[in-house]
């Protein structure tokens, strides 16, 4: 059975779903991610669904489950790249995907997770176990590359 590759990037796990998801494949991904979060001590999971032309209730539930499960394992999940037609359809379908954080693009998602992980790390500076993980997230930059803080002269 083929599997969707899970890439490690610093203390993040990166998944890009590029195939039409068969239910079995979605369930495998759920299992794989749980194992990899524990094995790598990842603090964030990015799931890119920009290649998916539909998200039905099964895939929606998979995303919710991954988000809830990773939260338990102390990692934040962000789903990025949902297409407008998919979002409109999900709203019509009545699928809320509670607990799933989303971002427009991979860049936005990285910025969101970066900020998130930074806050958490400052929260538990006294617990040294995770503080010296390799490849920690760098200072986030604004999505368009501009400085996050600017001034508008009125």
């Amino acid at each position: 059975m083929e599997r969707i590759p899970v890439l490690k990037l610093g203390n993040l796990l990166l998944v890009s779903i590029q195939v039409d998801l068969e239910d079995r494949l979605a369930l495998n991904l759920q299992d794989d991610l749980a194992e990899r979060i524990v094995a790598t001590g990842a603090r964030g999971v990015l799931i890119d669904i920009s290649a998916l032309d539909i998200v039905d209730s099964f895939v929606g539930r998979m995303l919710s489950t991954i988000a809830a499960m990773s939260k338990l394992l102390d990692a934040e999940t962000v789903v990025v790249g949902m297409r407008p037609a998919v979002a409109i359809t999900l709203v019509e379908l009545g699928l809320d995907m509670p607990g799933v954080r989303t971002a427009l693009t991979l860049e936005h998602g990285l910025a969101l997770l970066g900020a998130e992980v930074r806050v958490r790390r400052s929260d538990d500076t006294d617990s040294a176990d995770r503080a010296d993980l390799p490849g920690s997230i760098e200072e986030p930059t604004g999505p368009s590359g501009t400085a996050v803080a600017g001034t508008v002269v009125g």
Partner: protein
């Protein structure tokens, strides 16, 4: 308008009297021919009534005004032809199908005219007259169609509500006029697409210029906000006027956690703040 513009032509009298003399037979031929050409897209009864009216009006005007279609006596006939082309245009008949109804009169009258040994010259005059009727019909047809095109392009203009970039990462859609369900849906799809194509995280839907909001339109607005949130963008509705707020509450529409702001300016300020921009007046305070 005078009753006679052109001098009478002696060729006219023969075909006119033939047309007046054999009304019943020519009319039934006409209905038959026109019916064949329209391939039963019109019921026989409808066609018979239309052509019967036309022929009746024609028979009244011919003895008075001769073959001059511009004469006042043909006023009723012209009105009938205009009505016929308008209804054909609305029903989606082609120009050809519309004109052919009139041109079929030539074919219908040919046998009678031949039987009455009408001269070639008289037949030509008759043929020219029918051509005039046909051309008049076509012109009216085109007028109706032009009108329809104009109306559609107006609607299209209304539909093309622009998505405006207010700031880096901040888009706005100012909605103006009457919102129907189809238009709202289109505008919303455009907005969501623009979020992706510009990588903007913030969207403002401004409804200051919207007259009224019904349940369906409100639902579409809410669904758009939800869809934008699912995509990872913030969406704020601004410019809700008091009457609209009342309508929304009385319709029992739940705006729930949807962010609303009174004005577009406030919505922009919120979006700027969320993007990390601080808005402040410079020391010179607007003095150049």
């Amino acid at each position: 308008m005078t009753d006679r513009v052109d001098p009478p032509d002696e060729g006219d009298s023969t075909w006119i009297s033939a047309l007046l003399g054999e009304q019943a037979e020519i009319l039934s031929h006409w209905i038959e021919r026109a019916g064949e050409m329209l391939r039963a897209r019109l019921t026989a009864a409808e066609l018979a009534r239309e052509l019967g009216d036309l022929y009746g009006s024609l028979a009244q005007a011919l003895p008075v005004a001769g073959a001059d279609l511009r004469a006042g006596a043909f006023g009723e006939l012209r009105a009938l032809l205009a009505e016929l082309s308008a209804s054909r245009a609305r029903q989606g008949f082609t120009p050809r199908e519309t004109a052919i109804t009139v041109f079929a009169l030539k074919d219908a009258a040919a046998t009678i005219l031949e039987k009455k040994s009408v001269s070639f010259r008289a037949y030509r005059r008759f043929s020219d007259f029918v051509d005039e009727l046909g051309l008049f019909t076509l012109e009216s047809y085109i007028e109706v169609r032009d009108q329809a095109v104009l109306e559609q392009s107006n609607q299209l203009l209304e539909l093309s509500t622009p998505v405006i970039k207010l700031w880096d990462g901040i888009l706005a859609v100012p909605l103006i006029g009457t919102l129907d369900s189809a238009r709202t849906q289109l505008v919303m799809e455009n907005l969501l697409e623009s979020l992706i194509s510009t990588g903007s995280k913030h969207a403002i839907i401004d409804i200051t210029g919207v007259g009224a909001v019904d349940t369906q339109v409100a639902q579409h607005l809410l669904k758009t906000v939800r869809a934008a949130q699912l995509m990872g963008a913030d969406c704020v509705i601004s410019g809700i006027r008091p009457q609209i707020a009342q309508t929304v509450v009385s319709l029992g529409i739940e705006f729930g956690e949807i962010a609303t702001k009174a004005t577009l300016a406030e919505a922009l300020a919120v979006a700027l703040r969320r993007e990390g921009f601080a808005v402040s007046r410079s020391a010179t305070g607007g003095v150049r």
